[in-house]
């Protein structure tokens, strides 16, 4: 099943890449005119005209902005709407949003571009074309007014959903102009506003989607209700790559509410029942014999040994190289070496994986919380055996994503179940236990770092060897370049807009010995920057200590300007070096997802070894800030995610299966451990970086370096709960 799933995801990805790639070669021309839909005006379901694919304006002046990316709490819906509204010059209080479906996107030649939502790409990747959509619509509305008034278009202007002809004082609202505007050709030239002139974008506006989250009205994937719907609970082989040998359906078919027992692919069995509780109770009681396959022999210890071998292996993929690190280390006056290790971790979205499918002979519809609507659609087509044109995916609100819902494995299962009960909608819901044990886990890695100083105490060489699992090899083999996974080097790249290594070191070698396990590695909020930042930033502290230098002063000598600027901003706000009595500071920085980030943690550790994280000052330079209030919330939340991982996050393997099954064995942070987080936003302009993920990576190393300052203990394996911080 894993093999076929990889194939599915890969195909879907290739569909997306091929289309986007084709567009890129033409300058990615998103058609802005309603005519792109064919003859006549395209209309929303309620009959209101589309000005273009992004914007529908109703006669009552309300504006519907289409959002292609998935909203999973990160606020992209509000930010993207702000960008469209800014250019449209519409009244923000009249803005609502809707999600076009992946099927509509296919039918309209990908007019909304990429639906995939991950890698903190929502705003940074689509800001230009959604702003152009808003600007084009504004120009068409102004033109429609000028046409009606028979005046030069240059004498008309738009603001707050009203077009005004200054010389005559005539005005018309967008609602009155929409029908005429929708019939016009889009402008050929579009000039976007300068960021300094923004009135709606760039402001810390409240989210558009809060109210229904307060009263239980918002319908998440898990909440969907369809007439005649049944519910399925599933058990997939506990060992990835294993199969079902046999199961005894007769043992459970008489149980309360049970309708059917079905095999799902070659590795899972589901019970379909009248309610989730009845389905879950029956599937738990179902005798299943598994063939665990070769993965059944694997343990955390065997994985650890395999990775350890990679630390000194001859063959490795080179991600970043300058000078001759090995020779420089051999000739160094002093060398420092350290080995770190980072475990598998589960995303643990609050809403477990689920999808609802309705299959008939000529149609397959799926309602699912997904971060990748188009990959989900491709999965539905493949699993149903129907052409894409006869499939549809309705994106439901996500109860968290964090990368897990970019994968469509649970959607494939739902379709495979529904195919066996044609005409009946079936909601597949994973138990938390199924979710915990069938994740695409944060990759497991180890890292050996060796630094070399010259006789004057200057850092002249660094070799960083990562050994461990590749996400691309698990989920996106098309990303591999001659076998190398470039995503491994997030935050360690020689340059580029995504995640450049921050330090100028004359002799540098960063390489990766790929060591894959039978478990699936996946994109986990922050992805590879999480462990890469720990390795680099904790080791930089080790190097500073070894050369008798303050960690901040040591970094100041080596960091590139933009990396340093955000670290300096944080150090200043935090009062670095002058913590309150009994508290200690630690710092860290990295560039990830297009943004420069840094943190200063203030901690204390008492005599019993109890850690208290009092305060975090977190800096972000995302280039351009679309909604500072929501960025601040993403930054605060990123520390909960990153610190939960550091404190508790560990999925261990025994007999090939993950041992942690629920929040009792896979703990996460609660409110009592939440430090005061102060977000420092320093957008330096000229680029667009992501904000949902980058600061996660600095959470752990900043705190770990502060723990060292407090205790002299250098934590090199994770999570922290496995260590005793008690003073010796």
């Amino acid at each position: 099943m894993t093999v076929s799933m990889t194939k599915l995801d890969r195909r879907a990805f290739l569909v997306g890449v091929a289309a986007a790639g084709g567009g890129l070669s033409l300058g990615f021309q998103i058609p802005f005119g309603a005519t792109s839909f064919g003859a006549g005006t395209a209309r929303a379901a309620d009959g209101a005209p589309e000005i273009n694919a992004w914007i529908v304006i109703r006669p009552d002046d309300s504006v519907v902005i289409r959002i292609a990316r998935s909203e999973m709490g990160q606020g992209t819906l509000t930010g993207l709407a702000q960008l469209v509204a800014e250019e449209l010059e519409c009244d923000w209080s009249k803005v609502t949003t809707e999600f076009p479906t992946p099927g509509q996107n296919v039918a309209r030649k990908r007019v909304w571009g990429n639906f995939s939502t991950g890698g903190s790409r929502g705003i940074r990747e689509s800001n230009e074309y959604v702003r152009k959509g808003g600007a084009a619509a504004r120009e068409m509305l102004i033109q429609a007014a000028a046409n009606e008034w028979k005046v030069p278009v240059g004498e008309c202007s738009a603001a707050n959903s009203v077009v005004t002809h200054k010389p005559s004082g005539k005005t018309a609202t967008y609602g009155k102009l929409a029908e005429a505007a929708a019939k016009l050709d889009p402008p050929k030239e579009i000039t976007l506003k300068d960021v300094k002139d923004w009135k709606v974008a760039g402001k810390g506006l409240k989210r558009l989607d809060t109210r229904d989250k307060l009263n239980g009205k918002l319908v998440y994937g898990i909440d969907i209700k369809l007439p005649g719907m049944l519910t399925a609970a599933i058990r997939d082989c506990p060992v990835n790559g294993g199969k079902v040998t046999s199961f005894d359906a007769a043992k459970v078919t008489g149980m309360r509410g049970v309708k059917k027992v079905v095999q799902v692919g070659d590795s899972a069995v589901a019970v379909v029942a009248d309610s989730f509780w009845n389905a879950k109770t029956a599937v738990a009681a179902l005798p299943i014999v598994w063939d665990n396959g070769p993965g059944g022999k694997v343990s955390s210890e065997s994985i650890g040994a395999m990775l350890k071998e990679g630390l000194d292996a001859d063959q490795a993929y080179v991600g970043n190289k300058a000078g001759d690190a090995k020779a420089a280390l051999a000739g160094a006056a002093k060398t420092v070496e350290a080995v770190y290790a980072y475990p598998f971790q589960n995303h643990a979205t609050m809403e477990p994986m689920n999808a609802t499918a309705l299959y008939t002979d000529d149609k397959c519809e799926v309602w699912a919380p997904t971060q990748n609507g188009e990959a989900a659609l491709a999965t539905v087509a493949e699993a149903s055996g129907l052409p894409v044109g006869k499939c549809e995916v309705y994106k439901m609100m996500l109860g968290g994503g964090f990368g897990r819902r970019g994968r469509s494995d649970y959607i494939q299962q739902a379709v495979l179940i529904a195919r066996q009960i044609p005409g009946t909608p079936v909601k597949l819901l994973w138990t938390r236990e199924e979710d915990m044990t069938h994740c695409s886990y944060h990759p497991v890695t180890q890292c050996k770092l060796t630094g070399g100083f010259d006789a004057a105490g200057n850092l002249t060489a660094l070799h960083m060897r990562i050994s461990g699992q590749s996400i691309a090899a698990s989920l996106a083999p098309q990303l591999l370049q001659n076998g190398m996974d470039p995503v491994t080097f997030q935050g360690l790249n020689p340059g580029g807009p995504e995640g450049a290594f921050g330090y100028n070191i004359p002799n540098l070698l960063i390489d990766h010995a790929m060591r894959n396990t039978h478990l699936v590695a996946g994109f986990w909020r922050g992805v590879n920057t999480n462990h890469n930042a720990i390795y680099v930033e904790c080791f930089m502290d080790e190097l500073a200590q070894a050369s008798g230098q303050d960690p901040l002063e040591f970094r100041r000598k080596l960091l590139k300007p933009k990396h340093l600027a955000v670290l300096n901003a944080v150090a200043e706000k935090a009062g670095y070096g002058k913590p309150p009595q009994g508290r200690y500071h630690g710092i860290a920085q990295i560039m990830g997802f297009g943004s420069y980030v840094a943190a200063c943690a203030e901690v204390s550790v008492d005599a019993k070894g109890v850690l208290k994280i009092h305060r975090i000052v977190a800096g972000t330079d995302p280039g351009t800030a679309v909604n500072p209030a929501q960025i601040e919330r993403q930054v605060c939340g990123s520390f909960v995610y990153g610190l939960s991982a550091m404190l508790y996050g560990e999925c261990t393997v025994k007999d090939g299966a993950i041992e942690q099954t629920n929040f009792d064995s896979y703990n996460v942070m609660r409110i009592d451990e939440m430090p005061q987080v102060e977000a420092v936003l320093v957008p330096s302009g000229g680029f667009w970086g992501g904000v949902g993920e980058p600061t996660i990576a600095v959470a752990a190393p900043a705190v770990l370096n502060a723990i060292f300052a407090a205790t002299g203990k250098r934590i090199q394996t994770f999570p922290l709960m496995n260590h005793d911080l008690k003073s010796a």
Partner: protein, 149 residues
């Protein structure tokens, strides 16, 4: 058949008496605002009020709540209105994905009933709901805002 008093209405739920209240609410009565997160009373997403006290409905069999007053997130405020906790959540823009917030709001409403002006220490002691988006800082601010409203 089990008789349940939910949000002031009586329902006859045709479920096994051992069925957790959560699933009777969601699948039988159709009130899906109460969420499933863990099924073992760890995460708090399923928090409802039983006779006014915050309780984790995933681990309470329906048989044990017969004759008791059950309040879910849907019944916290009359339609179209917000309690001061919900209003503070709106004013402070608390939710991100929002999935845990039904349970969070129910837990906080119960806390404020017992302690109208909770300290940070009171909050730390009582509120143990999990939020994976990490809204804890905004939750804390909104609790104080609601207490001072």
């Amino acid at each position: 058949m089990v008789s349940l008093n939910v949000n002031g209405k009586f329902y006859e739920a045709d479920v096994d008496s051992r069925t957790p209240l959560l699933w009777a609410l969601r699948d039988t009565i159709g009130l899906t605002g109460t969420k499933y997160g863990c099924g073992i009373a760890q995460c708090g997403a399923c928090t409802v009020h039983i006779d006014g006290s915050a309780s984790r409905s995933c681990s309470i069999p329906v048989s044990s709540v017969v004759g008791k007053e059950i309040t879910t997130i849907e019944g916290l405020a009359p339609d179209g209105t917000l309690t001061k906790v919900q209003q503070a959540w709106l004013d402070n823009d608390v939710p991100q994905c929002g999935y845990c917030q039904s349970g969070m709001i129910m837990a906080v409403a119960s806390l404020l009933k017992d302690k109208p002006k909770p300290t940070d220490a009171d909050i730390d002691l009582v509120i143990s709901n999990i939020c994976r988006c990490g809204t804890y800082q905004q939750v804390r601010e909104a609790i104080h805002a609601a207490a001072n409203a």
